[in-house]
């Protein structure tokens, strides 16, 4: 059985496969950002729905999600990160200090840095409009940097999330340099002449 189906509840696996095989598939994209103050769960539907796995309600304030990142991966993606673009809640705009509040939120890194972020998909029955099966993850990571810009009359928050692999101390730009190696293993001189060699060294594999 393929891994995707294993994560789906057994009674609905046949229906999930049937939906995926159709020419028109109803699927929503959901974003979970585990802010310390309140977890944010958005979807690209305009009506909230409750998932069958965790029982969370997704979609309230879906208009907040104004931009999704392009997901990429592969051998040359050692430290993938995603950048989400979020609008700001409308009720904030009514407050006179909303700009200051926003800057304060971005400055309070304890509220988001290192906390969970996840991008999921969810299939729906086209007839009933109800979710079928469990949400499936496109990307799981942690929130890292957040910045805010103020175009005229509004604000856009840019939120960077990183995959868990990005936190394993991989070298910058994916190159293992002499200094990287010395930092991990102070007595190892194995990469001493890599820089002078000026080319990519492929480690032997015998």
């Amino acid at each position: 059985m393929i891994e995707f189906l294993k994560s789906q509840p057994a009674p609905q696996r046949a229906q999930v496969m049937d939906l995926l095989a159709r020419e028109a598939v109803q699927m929503s994209v959901m974003l979970h950002l585990d802010f310390a103050s309140e977890a944010l769960r958005l979807s690209n539907r305009n009506i909230p729905f409750t998932d069958l796995k965790w029982g969370h309600t997704w979609g309230a304030g879906g208009g907040l999600l104004v931009g999704l990142p392009e997901l990429s991966g592969g051998d040359d993606q050692l430290a993938p990160f995603r950048e989400y673009r979020l609008g700001i809640p409308n009720d904030w705009i009514d407050a006179e200090t909303w700009m200051a509040d926003l800057v304060e939120m971005v400055g309070d890194v304890g509220g988001y840095r290192g906390r969970d972020a996840g991008l999921y998909g969810q299939l729906f029955d086209s007839e009933s409009g109800q979710p079928v099966g469990h949400p499936f993850a496109f990307d799981i990571g942690i929130m890292d940097r957040m910045s805010v810009s103020f175009p005229r009359g509004g604000a856009i928050i840019s939120l960077t999330t990183e995959s868990f692999m990005a936190r394993k101390g991989v070298p910058v730009y994916g190159m293992q340099t002499y200094h990287d190696q010395k930092r991990r293993h102070p007595t190892d001189e194995g990469l001493q002449f890599v820089t002078e060699a000026g080319k990519l060294i492929t480690w032997t594999d015998w």
């Binding site: 159709r22 020419e23 028109a24 598939v25 109803q26 699927m27 929503s28 994209v29 979807s43 690209n44 539907r45 305009n46 009506i47 909230p48 729905f49 208009g63 409308n90 009514d94 729906f124 009933s128 409009g129 109800q130 009359g153």
Partner: protein
């Protein structure tokens, strides 16, 4: 957030009810076999266009005031619909019953008779249809696509007729004596007994662009048709 009602005089000056339900889908294009898979989500919203007939006198000022109070895209405009083509009641009993095929004498009597003209022994006849707006028979959850209404107007609404609950607009897909399947899915939960508006349903909309209402302030435009693009709004508080 403020809700601005379109003044009745301006509502009557509308040429049409040009509203359509529109959502976006995604796809990677056709495969080598020519077939294509389309991904879609329930992201349909009502898009609309208001075409107002030429305005005169204080209607010009009313129109200008609406724009000022809308404050661009900040506040919301409540638009009524006339729902032409289905059974509605606009306050005129004679028009309502005449459209349903009742004779002037039946309307005057307040009841109808058997086809041969006879009436009941107690000198009464069949009650004329109720003109009040239908109500929901049961609670309906958000996301639902079917509901049951009680009331003549709702039970006889035709396919394609529109109705509103809580200023959200819906369209009848099928109606079996009050069991109505509709689009889009119910925006917010509704409770039993709540009114379902078929006669002049309404929708809250936001201007599509900040300067959309500017057309009403341009010199000389009052004597030509004015067009404004709007889009459904979801906020209610």
């Amino acid at each position: 957030m403020a809700f601005i009602d379109l003044p009745a005089a301006l509502g009557d000056a509308r040429y049409n009810e040009n509203f359509w339900l529109f959502g976006e889908s995604a796809g990677a294009g056709p495969g080598l076999d020519g077939r294509e898979q389309v991904l879609f989500s329930e992201n349909r919203v009502w898009h609309g266009q208001i075409d107002l007939a030429p305005l005169f006198g204080d209607d010009i000022l009313r129109a200008r005031s609406v724009g000022t109070r809308l404050r661009g895209r900040v506040n919301l405009l409540r638009l009524p619909f006339y729902n032409l083509g289905t059974v509605t009641f606009d306050g005129n009993l004679e028009v309502f019953y005449s459209a349903l095929g009742y004779t002037p004498s039946e309307i005057a009597a307040g009841y109808s008779s058997f086809s041969d003209g006879t009436i009941f022994d107690d000198s009464s006849g069949f009650a004329l249809p109720d003109t009040s707006e239908p109500t929901l028979k049961f609670d309906v959850a958000a996301n639902a696509t079917a509901l049951i209404v009680e009331g003549f107007i709702g039970e006889n609404a035709c396919q394609g007729a529109r109705f509103s609950i809580n200023d959200f607009l819906y369209e009848v897909e099928e109606n079996a004596q009050g069991t109505i399947r509709f689009s889009p899915p119910l925006r917010t939960a509704a409770t039993a007994g709540q009114t379902v508006y078929f006669s002049k349903p309404s929708i809250l909309v936001r201007l599509k662009e900040d300067r959309s209402w500017k057309t009403f302030t341009e010199y000389g435009l009052y004597n030509s048709t004015m067009t404004v693009q709007v889009i459904e709004a979801f906020e209610r508080d």
